[in-house]
Symmetry: C2
Subunit: 173 residues, 2 copies
Amino acid sequence: MTRIVFMLVAVVTTAGVVASLAPASGQADGEAAPIFVTKIPAGYRDWPVISVAHEAGDLNSLGAKLGNDVAIKAYREGKLPFPDGTIIAAVHWTHSPSDENNKVFGRAQSFVPGQHTNVQFMIKDSKKYAATGGWGFGHFNKDGTLGDDALMKTCFPCHAKASRDFVFTQYAP
Amino acid sequence: MTRIVFMLVAVVTTAGVVASLAPASGQADGEAAPIFVTKIPAGYRDWPVISVAHEAGDLNSLGAKLGNDVAIKAYREGKLPFPDGTIIAAVHWTHSPSDENNKVFGRAQSFVPGQHTNVQFMIKDSKKYAATGGWGFGHFNKDGTLGDDALMKTCFPCHAKASRDFVFTQYAP
């Protein structure tokens, strides 16, 4: 399976391996190792919507990007870089046809969330996550397990290509 | 232009005609006329996500379905019919390719909200909206104008085909 992971978009991974993701601190070699998010922020499912997204192709994903108070305020005020305390959540589901809706439409055009696949987070803490642009990245599979090492290593290099403080998602008014 | 309108999904209408949508009361003929929602519920953009949707075909829409406290509680508890006070919002945007994301992906697969097209509401009040299954339907174009008569007349007959108290959208966990 080719695994492609980009910018807080859905990835259907094999079962996550909960290992080697503990925060690295006190690095003796002087080079800070990436620190990942290992705990799901409380209450994220109730946060307001920043935007939604459909990733076609192999990802086949529908997503909702949610933001905590700090994130929503920064987005609405157009504030960049995002302030410390910003948390962006990306909830992903499969992009699945709705048989019920399509029957009513009389054509196959309706796609809704099928299975929940994962939820990803970006947490801004310019000191704690200094090694990765001030952002901590987190990936939690649908069973709550963490994304594995190979997956997590792809987060930062890809988000480094975003033109707005490592964030691709824009606010949908 | 063929106008197809179904189940709180996006519709790009021509400029809405703000007329003939005032609440009908005191009907002399004994038959209750449909009452539509003519005011956007305050704060809806901050409500939690019920689900998201992609309607392909002519609609070409990405949507976020949001719920007020009553709606979210009813959804999470699986409570049917929805209690009075339930409000469901459906925010719609065009389903538009993201050039920025696609450049990073290296392929055309990323779709995000383009233009905001409209926002629609279903408000449960079993007495006020008795003529339409206890639900008041509302449609607001991107400029804030109301959906026209022809559009509004399509809401109820279509939602009557839904199997869960006139509501198509299911909660996405």
